[in-house]
């Protein structure tokens, strides 16, 4: 199964900033470890949510607004693709993402073809 893994930072960025240098190195190492996990296709790292631009189209008019579609705290903070046998395997990888233990979360979305 192909899963798209969405990382939400929540309070994680602030909490990670308060960690010791060694702990911060561990966070980077853990992300590196995720990227090197068999089945993972890393995506380019996402810029901060405050640099996002949201586009909607209403009545043929393109509306462009500053910021993410959801609130700043609720915005997606990172993405990777995971090829795994089943949801349990995906949950195990998700649990290794540092954001998940520092007040953020990982959302697992199965890939689906709609057409």
């Amino acid at each position: 199964m192909k899963y798209i893994m969405l990382i939400y930072q929540g309070a994680a960025l602030e909490r990670q900033a308060a960690l010791t240098e060694d702990e911060q190195k561990q966070v980077y190492a853990d992300y590196q470890g995720i990227n090197e996990t068999p089945g993972v296709t890393p995506m380019p790292p996402l810029g901060l949510a405050e640099t996002a631009t949201t586009v909607r189209v209403e009545g043929g008019r393109t509306l462009t607004t500053d910021g993410p579609f959801a609130g700043m705290k609720e915005a997606v903070g990172g993405v990777f693709i995971l090829e795994a046998d089943d949801l349990d395997a995906a949950i195990e990888v998700a649990a290794r993402v540092p954001a998940a233990r520092y007040g953020g979360a990982v959302e697992i979305r199965p890939s689906q073809v709609y057409w």
Binding site: M1, A84, D85, D86, L87, D88, A90, I91, P110, Q112
Partner: protein, 389 residues
């Protein structure tokens, strides 16, 4: 016909689990199983029950699934399943079937499903209740329940929830999730819907058969059997009867025996978990006169395990029996459960025994405000009337 119901009940979960295991498709398996059981319900009373009912049901369901895949063009991509269906061998000896009910239970109680969905799916697939029966038990429209089941099955397929017994490192957590579902079903039943309590006990028995070495599994079954043994005496003409006023002669002695033997097994297996403790507590409740000192000690241990103020409230009731209402009240007044109706009804009772009647009346009124349920509310009103009289 009762015997036939029994056969259906025993076989439904097994046949369905085997079909899901082979076909990998909940809907297809469920439709096929349902058709096979419908044919059996039509034929068996007329032609007699076949020698090997399970093999008959399996074969018929497999043939239905095969027909369905051939007939339905939408299922064309599932042609590979045909080969799978053909692999469902039908041995002459019914015991030769792998029992995949555990796989089914763990799939239905996967934490990626909402708890309501877990409950509904478990009752439908393992328990064999109809959508309509589950809807009635949980007081929701049948349409709502049907949608809940459809959504749950869709999620299992789309998200890739595995059909398997979890590996060792996940097992504890997943067994606890399964027990939580069964416990929740039982609690719904304990409020008065006997059918759900019986259903939970049946599921607990099936679990004990499949996971007999797990003390918590046996603990939960013991607890349910012991609580349920007092079912006949908990209500009198629809009115709530407290433990102290129940007639022990009308408790189900045989069921108490079954509960205690499950509890003994759990303890012998080294069980000291929350369900085993609750079973030990239920065992004391089913004993007259009640050993309040031991009950207080067990609630103390359970409270240390769970850090639950509700458990602490129960300990207060036991302490009030051994050390007097003032000692019980001291515990109750230290709990922050202001919105919990049983806190106020317990306070009221202890204040009444201490002769502090004005405060007792206030506490009963507060409990009444928080109580919607008919029998419990009427009980509180009777107490208030007695205090006023």
């Amino acid at each position: 016909m009762v015997a036939l119901d029994e056969v259906f009940r025993e076989e439904w979960g097994r046949v369905l689990a085997t079909l899901i295991g082979v076909l990998g498709d909940f809907d297809l398996a469920e439709d096929a199983a349902q058709e096979a059981f419908a044919i059996a319900a039509d034929r068996w009373p007329r032609d007699g029950v076949p020698d090997n009912p399970r093999a008959w049901l399996m074969r018929t369901a497999r043939n239905r699934a095969t027909d369905r895949i051939r007939r339905d063009r939408a299922l064309a991509p599932k042609l590979a399943l045909l080969a799978a269906a053909d692999r469902v061998e039908v041995p002459m000896d019914a015991t030769a079937f792998p029992d995949e009910r555990l796989e089914l239970i763990f799939t239905c109680c996967h934490p990626a499903l909402a708890i309501e969905a877990q409950v509904a799916l478990t009752l439908r697939t393992v328990g064999g209740l109809s959508t309509d029966e589950i809807a009635r038990a949980f007081l929701v429209p049948e349409r709502t329940m049907a949608q809940r089941l459809v959504r749950a099955k869709r999620k299992i397929k789309a998200a890739g929830i595995p059909f398997r017994v979890p590996p060792a490192h996940l097992l504890r957590e997943r067994i606890d999730a399964v027990l939580a579902v069964v416990y929740l079903i039982f609690n719904e039943g304990y409020g008065g819907r006997d059918d759900l309590a019986a259903e939970a006990i049946w599921l607990g028995g099936a679990l004990a058969e499949l996971l007999g070495d797990d003390p918590e599994v046996r603990g939960l079954l013991a607890m349910m059997l012991l609580h349920d043994s007092r079912r006949e005496t908990r209500f009198d003409g629809g009115e709530l009867v407290l433990l102290a006023d129940q007639d022990p002669a009308r408790w189900d002695a045989a069921q108490i025996g079954r509960g205690r033997s499950q509890l003994d097994r759990a303890i012998a297996l080294g069980g000291r978990g929350p369900y085993v403790l609750q079973a030990a507590i239920a065992s004391l409740h089913a004993q007259a006169p009640c050993d309040w000192a031991q009950l207080a000690a067990l609630y103390g241990e359970l409270g240390r395990r769970t850090a639950s103020p509700v458990v602490e409230l129960n300990r207060a009731i036991a302490v009030a029996e051994t050390e007097g209402p003032a000692a019980g009240l001291r515990i109750v007044d230290g709990l922050g459960l202001d919105d919990f109706r049983y806190l106020h009804s317990t306070r009221a009772e202890l204040l009444r025994r201490l002769g502090r009647l004005d405060e007792a009346r206030d506490a009963y009124r507060r409990a009444r405000e928080l109580t919607a349920d008919g029998a419990e509310r009427r009980f509180l009103e009777r107490r208030l009337t007695e205090l006023n009289g």
